[in-house]
Symmetry: C2
Amino acid sequence: MTSQTELQPAPERLQVTTLQPQSRATLADVGRLAGVSSKTVSRVVLDSGNVSKDTRDKVLAAARSLRFRPNHLARNLRHGSVTNTVAFIIGDLTNPFYFLVAAGIERELARHGLMMILAATDDDPASEERVVQNLLDQRVRALLMVPIAADQGYLEGERQLGTPVVCIDRPARNLIADSVVLGSFEATAEAVRGLIRAGHRRIAFVCSPAALYTHQERLRGYRQALREAGVLDSSPWERLENPGGPTAEESVRDLLAMSEPPTAIIAGNNHASLGVVRALGNHFDRLAFIGFDDFELADALGISVIAYDPAELGRRAAQLVIARLNDLIGPPQQIEIATHLIHRGSGELLVPRDQ
Amino acid sequence: MTSQTELQPAPERLQVTTLQPQSRATLADVGRLAGVSSKTVSRVVLDSGNVSKDTRDKVLAAARSLRFRPNHLARNLRHGSVTNTVAFIIGDLTNPFYFLVAAGIERELARHGLMMILAATDDDPASEERVVQNLLDQRVRALLMVPIAADQGYLEGERQLGTPVVCIDRPARNLIADSVVLGSFEATAEAVRGLIRAGHRRIAFVCSPAALYTHQERLRGYRQALREAGVLDSSPWERLENPGGPTAEESVRDLLAMSEPPTAIIAGNNHASLGVVRALGNHFDRLAFIGFDDFELADALGISVIAYDPAELGRRAAQLVIARLNDLIGPPQQIEIATHLIHRGSGELLVPRDQ
DNA sequence: CTGTTAGCGCATTCAA
DNA sequence: TTGAATGCGCTAACAG
């Protein structure tokens, strides 16, 4: 990649042929109509005092008749060129989980007069830096991101310029940044311990993609609980698939066909849970089942899950951004969102009699 | 509301105390270092020719060493003050349907160097205008919206200024604007006709909220098909609830408890479908069931649905925006997205023998 | 091939 | 209480 390419801004494929049949009124236009200077209009619009009631009324009348609207761009250019927007960068826009996170972010940002730009990397680690750079060129005020690239070190310069970066769901690598994550390790370990207390020993773990931080954490928790119970080798029941490999559904069918099939199963994320449901069909009593992430209809189907509020993830992350924007000082924070096990039946099944 | 309030921009609660420890390099900075004028740097950055290879290399080296990044804000201020952002305004951010639409929009916009700002009105018609005005003050380039207010006439002035407005899922009122909608009427009528051919006559329709354009269209289609079959009064089986009223699940339970219960049911949207599933429990063979909107696990549960691609809705809407941005001429368009009935079993149940 | 001038819309500094 | 000058970062239009 040449530095030329580095410098290229977002491809400006749209010509600015917006030949506006009419143009927007400016402070000067309003001032002309009201017979005052643009600065006086500015004072009225900003309500920054020192304007006589008389002038004020004249200006407001003129502003209304011209349909004047302040130009935030120009306003912000004046003080250091920032917008009122914060970016949220996700890998896969179609995952309902991130949508709920985005909803939490949007709500919190809106409370503080900030808007959310949603951007996607299409789960392509290589595109993360490009997307981020593009957003920074648009002068977003802060970055919220679910890191996907192996390394976020490229953001170090930006951080020094004062742009807050908050990572969601996974911590950043090679970058000092705040993050908001789940207690995946402990939550999974605790769920598995429950299964063990119910008598299970052959407990499977299904999840994909294997490489994700969260999935690795959950795998660690799963192994930890099994180790505590004396099960030292769980590898026969671990199915962490990679993109292109078998689906969760296929993995479960495969597990069920074993000569010594598992008596319980943990799904590492919502996607894997759906695979389990599909594989089990109507035979939910065939084995105990706990999924990580709540999902639509899990209640109706009686499926126990490790749940938490995705919107809370977003809300907390947005709060961190706002705190940083108001005061850059302070060490990076790592916030952990609480999870809790919802008992709906599937996770409470005991080991079948004949085992 | 005083005009003062009208003029107030988004509450600027954040102080710009971003005391940047270091500041961003500008064209002039790069020029100084490279020993050329800022205009020459601009030419290099824009790759607009007329720069000797020698100068070019010097400039690129300087730009890189200063970590120069072009300021799109200033650039755009120069040509009429617009950003590279397009707003998508939704009522309820947590509805997975709109999320998929948003994904389609984001993808299409990104292909053209535009970014998507996602904004929510929290299903409050009164907040629509405020949210829109705020976005316009930030100079978004176009508006994509799921209209919720009773009237979009307040956008007329903006339209004349050349800002494209594209409505999604429902047409605008009192405003000339493009729209992308579903063929709700015909799709529902056709689904009901199928049930009638299978012998059904007592067919219920469950949906909420009642007031929505799409839901009214679907109701019309439902009634039309019944009328064709000689069922002139379907009111006993129509359950269009309003916010605060019974849930879809409750409506279905109520229907099932009738002395002459329906033998088939149409759910007017994905939310109503979930209610039906919950109410039916495991007794999916109790009546025929077709839902409008596909939903997660509908395949696993064997539920027939009227399906379409939500991302396609977004994609087409974004394409309209881009077309308008490039050429404002042409009459408003109304695009209809195709729907198709997916047969999964639940919609193919015949009328029970004893009826 | 390169530089100068000017101005986008606004708000800060300083004067009146 | 009001206004004039200035500059934010960038790029058209016009020199040279």
